[in-house]
Symmetry: C2
Subunit: 336 residues, 2 copies
């Protein structure tokens, strides 16, 4: 059993905000990250919630992130918003970009947000979710340091690079929210097994020669297995092109690690596309989504990614979230 303490969502948000600011983050940069941290805990994704706050703080202190950065927003074409995150937190850059992207997508029917000089954006689906809440279909892409090898090769060239799509629903909740990485399993799972000295199942990672391994340490020195073989590599390339090549951000092969303190800012990128279903579907979108979701939910045992998220959020808002006390102790140490 892990020792836990139950915190309300606003306590989680406040604690995150204070820790980030104590580490040298401006309030403007800390606020969106603190809000995302509380929402992530509400969704039950503890690995990307409060547990990340000490890492973010360390990264501000070592210069991997500029806690005082001001994102620079521009609009090079009628349908394109560009944000230079200036090596600050991705969340503040995304917030600044969404302020322009959302009205633009409604007006133009479609708009793109290209973010460069950025950082790990946490749970990608948190951001596309917000586009769906605004009544838009949101597509998101974010690249990461290389950890997946190309087909026929063994040296990593692309990250576990997730994509996300969120389709608006009828009640301000997304009808469908997909957020999936290109690898069979999250790299953080392999790192967790390495920390705990446990073997990993075959199919999660490969050694430096591209052979299967059950040793997490060897896997971390090799590469992550792409989901579905070459098609997983295809997804990682899709995201690498959208989030890095198309934004001018740093490729995964050149990016500094997201973990640890070495290498300076990763300067990776994000791309978000927002499309107004009212512009493209002649009003048929909501009915089609209802039919699609029903065809799944009327099957015994069948489910969609993200099912049950709504109930989980409601419960978290009412009862709070049980948080690991070791994490809380690490945050208390930052607050001094």
């Amino acid at each position: 059993m892990t020792d836990t303490r139950t915190l309300t969502l606003s306590e989680i948000e406040d604690l995150s905000l204070r820790a980030l600011m104590a580490a040298g983050t401006s309030e403007a940069n800390a606020r969106p990250l603190a809000a995302a941290t509380a929402a992530t805990e509400a969704d039950g994704v503890a690995s990307h919630g409060l547990a990340y706050i000490p890492i973010y703080c360390e990264h501000v202190q070592c210069g991997k992130v500029d806690g005082q950065a001001t994102p620079i927003v521009s609009q090079p074409r009628p349908g394109v918003v560009k944000v230079d995150a200036a090596t600050g937190f991705a969340h503040a850059a995304i917030d600044a970009g969404f302020d322009r992207l959302i009205p633009l997508a409604r007006e133009q029917g479609i708009a793109a947000l290209a973010i460069t000089n950025s950082y790990n954006c946490g749970v990608l689906g948190y951001h596309t979710y917000r586009l769906a809440q605004a009544g838009l279909l949101g597509l998101g892409f974010t690249n990461a340091p290389a950890s997946i090898a190309p087909s026929g090769g063994s040296k990593p060239v692309v990250g576990t690079n997730p994509f996300s799509i969120a389709a608006p629903g009828s009640d301000g909740q997304p009808a469908v929210l997909i957020d999936q990485s290109a690898s069979t399993i999250a790299k953080s799972e392999v790192m967790k097994h390495a920390r705990e000295g446990k073997p990993i199942p075959e199919g999660w990672a490969l050694d430096a020669d591209g052979n299967p391994t059950t040793d997490p340490e060897i896997g971390l020195k090799g590469s992550m297995a792409p989901s579905g073989g070459y098609k997983g590599v295809g997804i990682a390339l899709l995201t690498e092109m959208m989030a890095a090549a198309m934004t001018g951000a740093t490729l995964g092969i050149h990016a500094s690690p997201f973990s640890g303190t070495a290498g300076g800012p990763p300067k990776t990128g994000q791309m978000f596309l927002a499309i107004d279903p009212g512009a493209t579907s002649d009003g048929a979108f909501a009915q089609r989504m209802t039919q699609l979701v029903e065809a799944i939910h009327t099957q015994d045992g069948a489910h969609l990614p993200g099912d049950g998220r709504g109930a989980k959020r409601l419960a978290a808002a009412e009862n709070g979230v049980a948080v690991n006390t070791a994490t809380l102790a690490r945050i208390d140490a930052i607050l001094g």
Copy 2:
């Protein structure tokens, strides 16, 4: 050994054009389909080349496609082109849409093309390739009759639904072209095994209860296995939302089959997004793509999807393509 005869690419195009018109297709609708057929043969994708012409002709004759249709183009918002394919061939609808999409994407930075009341568009990457030739990053989605079951279920709700991305290169050829379906293997491969009475490898298809099967007939009555499990379902949903829900086209659960003569027009959809890298990347795109492609090509044995396509096309243009004589006999019968 299969009996073959070697035809030049223009002979393939001309033969396709004449057969389609003999079956009742207007010249305007037949031309883009004939050009795509020759290009597909040049790429070595024989399954979607001339072999499809007798099927297309049969579909015109049985009313699954309206050979005389005129696509209706509109522009509901500054960044969105809409085409009602009017149950005609997808190729003519895509052509009509691209004429507006390409200049619009350059002007706006990003533009969308939503096609409804459409049909099987053949090789999806053929179309995104053309966007890359125009210097744009092309994303494509096309939905198909349901054949993949949701996670936890066993009844198909989404098609093998491919997506494609084509990134422009320096010489009019795409730097990278990805075109992959959501299933482990193409449904046509399972159908081929069924015709030949051969068992299929485990992992290709599932029976009506969702269990693995090596019997292609049972697999065709069950569902296609998604690539990488639930992540393949995620890709199929991504494409279903983009190509059908977002365009107002018919969902895979309601679409008539692409094969056979029953059920009338499938009325499925396509979505294409075109983005100008010059608008989003501050001029860094070409260099990033070069670095990404080089990181792959400098590894022994590593390759990108579509590698060797250029050489294959050149050889086909010079030496022609060996075509199955049984296919040619079927086309001759249409020409009468």
